[in-house]
Symmetry: C2
Subunit: 159 residues, 2 copies
DNA sequence: ACATAATTGTTGCATATGCAATGATACCGC
DNA sequence: GCGGTATCATTGCATATGCAACAATTATGT
């Protein structure tokens, strides 16, 4: 006579919970799908990763920035930005110069080669953005607004 | 007389592009915000990571599954699932048994301790889901539908 | 029945990542 | 002007990750 004879088998003490309906999970999967789609293309055609892409696009947009600027602008840890910038420098796409004035800062900018690459890359990104907006149809703007609300609301450790 | 004297300074050959309006980036940031909010709480109060959470919740929901099942159900690489399961087994939250019938499979299930932990954890997740739905207001359902469309459309390498 | 292909889970290995510590420089109060 | 504090970028280190290789098992075709 085991304990099982005394107790109902597997009492369902656990509440039902479907992960596939859990918003944090759903957003994570959606992000992964979009990023993978992009990463495949960028990697195959230009040999750059998502971190590479983020740094490059900010430099293209700003015309030059410090590690700290990029960290804040594209939501990457500063060590990740630093290593990404070094890698891109090694490939000749980014130039590192000491900042005139504040010598703690490193001034990053695109090289001519980096600009040439971005000249090819940015139109692709613009196309992709347009394609997404088309695919998602009229609900896209509302979707984008909710996205912004999430980004704003769930910011610091306050959650 | 440098080259700069001959050429217009910094010819803007690059199209304007604002990363913060790029949907793949926006979804990635939103996902990161939501995940970090969750991860902080789960880690602080239960010592579990997001991969841990995904495996545990699927086992709670299914009542038992193979590595392959989990891989498909919660969108994680099988090596990641395998290592996560081993870690959870080491902590006494998950049991590994050989599968009767197909001996290639490993049958994973929650231990009593694992069930107890999930009994504490799942209500928190449900609350969080409700809180999100509240925060995002009436647009939430439409948002969720678009999310589903992204998950469905941007699946395989076809993108 | 047998050889071949396919599936499953684990592991090795190279790389990526996050966090803390460090070194260098700039800022601030007195 | 000086000492203490804050900011910036890099690096060390431990861990996490992805991918391919692998061993074990099962399915398939003939």
């Amino acid at each position: 006579m085991t304990e099982k004879d005394h107790m109902p088998a597997e009492p369902r003490t656990l509440p039902e919970f479907d992960l596939t309906r859990f918003t944090p999970y759903r957003v994570a999967v959606a992000a992964q799908r979009l990023s993978e789609t992009l990463a495949r293309e960028y990697r195959a055609r230009f040999g750059i990763s998502i971190p590479d892409w983020r740094v490059l696009v900010h430099l293209a947009h700003s015309g030059g920035a410090s590690v700290r600027d990029i960290e804040a602008a594209v939501v990457m840890e500063k060590s990740k930005v630093s290593r990404t910038a070094s890698r891109l420098e090694g490939r000749g796409l980014v130039a590192k110069k000491p900042h005139s004035g504040d010598r703690r800062l490193v001034h990053l900018s695109l090289t001519a080669e980096g600009e040439a690459l971005m000249a090819d890359l940015l139109p692709l990104a613009t196309d992709f953005q347009d394609r997404i907006a088309d695919d998602l149809g009229p609900g896209f703007h509302a979707f984008d607004a909710v996205l912004q609300k999430i980004i704003d609301d769930y910011d610091g450790p306050a959650g």
